[in-house]
Symmetry: C2
Subunit: 300 residues, 2 copies
């Protein structure tokens, strides 16, 4: 028997858009991607981008998550207050007016300093579905532009910490003195590990160390071609130093496999080994939420 | 008796160039500035920029400090190794070939993570000249693009710590999500102090707090127009938190009066009050070094 298309899911972030055609068990039948993240939607015409990326696919229910539900997205969907799990996310699903797209809400915590996420809540639903042992109590790390460290209890997101690691790396590389004189990457060397260890061993954090990505080059103790790897190590090492100060070791890394591997190497320098890496969590989570909401043809 | 011109001094940094015509006691007779920092010298023709900014002034000895002596400046002048004071700087003075300009060397420390400065060593010479009580033992803070915390003993620079506070603020404002949605500044409110205190009270440092400059706005607990003041408070507060963890309280703030005042407000939130602010240290230092080197007409 050929699997029949059942659902269209969209992972629609700030810089990219990925669409998946899924069968009634959540398996991927087809996938497409476009650089039309919400900051790059021609004429802010979300409807046209949606129509184009789903062209020729069957007319099915569709569901999306990510910055598409932000104030700068297609429709602003209010955050779910933590603790939030799949039931709270289903309750907050919002149908775009005059379009067949349901958008998953983000999640916000409300401590002295609030934290927010859009998209990661869906990856977490997917990760808990793929690895049911994580649901009762776990700590999940989602590396990225804005990395999230998320505590889960009883299948619900209870706490969030955000680190701007990926964005800081990109703007320091592209716009600061640290990137201005960096040459092409050197062959793989120990510069990344050197940065991680410098951050790990710092009592105060990396604020007084950041400039060493330049001064080590100026004093010829680091190759110019290694300085960005060293900077990456400093920033990821700082994230781990801070994250590990405030709680348990992570139970899983969720996201792009290449980036998760980089974090895994850094964790090993903190003597934390063998953290499972979960890829493909976004479409798994979107399928789970759609199924719970009765949106898939399978559940109807 | 009319004071007669004795020396031309140049404070030549990355983004700006300031020239002073001094009399034989170091008093300023005339001053000029151009946006021709070393990154903005037309056709890299340093000689033409020098001739233009000194046009119509008497043909006198001249001395300069700052990034003009870096690898991307007019002539690369090797760093003096710390400990370094006025005698070491005089010994390292380098005359530009075919030009009447002497360039003051920067200073480098050589610990596990080296630190370097170009220009600040000259401001410190000036500050010690203006406030002789600082020479025997002091800690000096020079706020800026790359803030420097400098320990001085027996009139010599013994240790340097660099913080990229000013550059981080500028690139986060201009290129990150934190600046993208910030609106025009709100009327002065407590956002700067709120940021300083959040950094001061953080156990791990600001890495997990940086995103609050966005999340507080998203959750309507900080006005969009105040978010850059809050960010400035976070970054300056982090510099103070780290700097104060590793040594004594500062004895002076050196540099632009407006920026030093901002640091003074931040220090007061760390319960450190009445730090003297020293402005005009750059040309004072250049005069002292020139005099010691026998470059001024007064000393000849």
């Amino acid at each position: 028997m050929t699997a029949s298309p059942s659902l269209i899911v969209l992972d629609w972030g700030t810089t990219s858009l990925r669409a998946y055609l899924l069968d009634d068990r959540g398996h991927v039948l087809d996938t497409r991607s476009e650089p039309h993240g919400i900051m790059h939607v021609p004429d802010s015409n979300f409807s046209a981008v949606f129509d184009a990326i789903t062209a020729d696919w069957p007319a099915l229910a569709s569901i999306g998550a990510g910055m598409i539900g932000s104030a700068n997205g297609w429709v602003e969907v209010p955050y779910c207050a933590a603790p939030a799990g799949i039931d709270e996310l289903v309750a907050g699903l919002t149908l775009v007016p005059n379009a067949p797209l349901n958008i998953v809400p983000g999640v916000a915590t409300n401590g002295a300093l609030p934290n927010v996420m859009r998209g990661e809540e869906t990856q977490i639903v997917g990760a808990l579905d793929l690895h049911s042992g994580l649901a009762s109590k776990s700590r999940l790390v989602l590396p990225g532009t804005h990395s999230k460290w998320v505590d889960v209890a009883d299948g619900r997101i209870t706490d969030i910490t955000s680190f701007m690691t990926g964005e800081l790396f990109a703007i320091l590389r592209d716009h600061s003195i640290l990137g201005r004189f960096a040459s092409d990457p050197a062959p793989i060397d120990d510069a990344f590990a050197r940065g991680v260890v410098a951050a790990k061993d710092s009592a105060e954090g990396i604020s007084p160390l950041l400039f060493s990505a330049r001064s080590l080059v100026l004093t010829r103790r680091l190759a110019a071609g290694s300085s960005l790897e060293y900077l990456s190590g400093l920033l990821i090492g700082e994230e781990l130093r801070c994250g590990l100060m405030t709680g348990a070791r992570p139970d899983a890394l969720i996201g792009d496999a290449t980036l998760c591997h980089r974090y895994d190497v850094a964790f090993s320098l903190f003597d934390i080994h063998d953290i499972p890496i979960i890829d493909g969590a976004a479409h798994a989570g979107l399928f789970s939420i759609a199924k719970r909401a009765g949106l898939t043809t399978a559940a109807q």
